[in-house]
Symmetry: C2
Subunit: 212 residues, 2 copies
């Protein structure tokens, strides 16, 4: 929950700092500082400084450091949902649509690595500093969209009648691990081609003889 | 790198605190506190307090907070390597051995969730606080062992001649995502049965018709 804005902060904020550009600059600075220092170590002062605005301007737009993180994650969920629903609405075979969905999510994550990393560390990080944001939203949107296309593919006789939830989990795992490889300098990134090859393995199978 | 132990710390440590039990207690307390508060927020004082030992005892055994984290991760890599090499040495088909390898790694992670979470947050966390420990060691051991069994399966005509590295990446992604589901209270855990079903999909494939 974003703490209510105190009247003191309101009066301290100049009119020019109430504009959307100030808000955007604060969001961009916060992502960079949360990513570099970690959410708990980041200070409101340095975020405002990097954005070139006053601390009251930060409180005016976001209420608190937590409000800033929640605004970042809200925007990310919104963009994620948009990307996923656009990909699901595509035409083609279920396999083509799932591949496009995996690639689009991979691309979205790849161009937003700092946000993905911040979300990851908050999600997996200490419970004591976890902000009031339901990070499972990403997972739910992602899983439900995948299951929808998988079930359409099964109805069309394109996929075998295995539980769609298992296939969705498998695809999520494959995309996530490709994204994690892009995220850390110690790994060889697999890139978009690598992702396609890895996801194809799930469609075609690795064993010569199928068991089920 | 573990900072050298200062002579001041040496003299402050009683003989009884130099024993291996003190070392073990400090490791256990550190895992709990790193997991609960995050590595950067954790203090040497509270780790020593929880272990019921003095701060000089901590410095005597580990030199610093970073030394303590590195000792935790070193022990984890050691146990991981042992689990993986035991699984690789099993008899059976390549598919059975890979399944056992995935299950054993999943089980090891599951009983060590706090350490896995600490390693994850340090690995993905801010570069400014990353300790001098090569976390890609886990990935290398895991990947090379998987590739070995995959290539043995290909040589035996059990698996299709796809790049073993892609199959290894796929298996690592599937196991990792099942572990992550166990790690966060917001997710439905898939458990060991879920893992088996998901990994089986990669062997058998999801599409009715294979493309390659």
């Amino acid at each position: 929950m974003v703490p209510s804005r105190s009247p003191i902060n309101q009066v301290d904020v100049t009119l020019s700092e109430r504009d959307p550009q100030t808000r955007t600059r604060l969001l961009q600075s916060a992502v960079q500082i949360f990513d570099r220092k970690g959410y708990s170590a980041a200070s409101v002062r340095e975020i405002a400084e990097m954005a070139g605005v006053t601390k009251p301007a930060l409180y005016y737009h976001f209420g608190s450091k937590e409000g800033l993180l929640i605004a970042i994650l809200d925007a990310a969920v919104h963009e994620f949902a948009r990307t996923v629903s656009t990909a699901v609405a595509r035409t083609g075979t279920a396999r083509e649509r799932l591949m496009a969905l995996c690639e689009d999510v991979f691309n979205l994550f790849e161009v937003n690595i700092p946000i993905v990393r911040v979300a990851h560390t908050v999600f997996l990080g200490p419970v004591e500093i976890a902000p009031a944001f339901d990070l499972t939203k990403f997972e739910r949107i992602w899983r439900e969209s995948l299951q929808q296309v998988i079930e359409e593919g099964q109805a069309a006789g394109e996929f075998r009648p295995v539980p769609s939830l298992d296939v969705a989990y498998a695809l999520m795992g494959l995309v996530d691990s490709c994204v994690e490889r892009q995220m850390h300098p110690g790994f060889d990134p697999v890139g978009r081609d690598g992702l396609r090859k890895i996801v194809s393995l799930l469609f075609d199978g690795v064993s010569c003889e199928r068991r089920s």
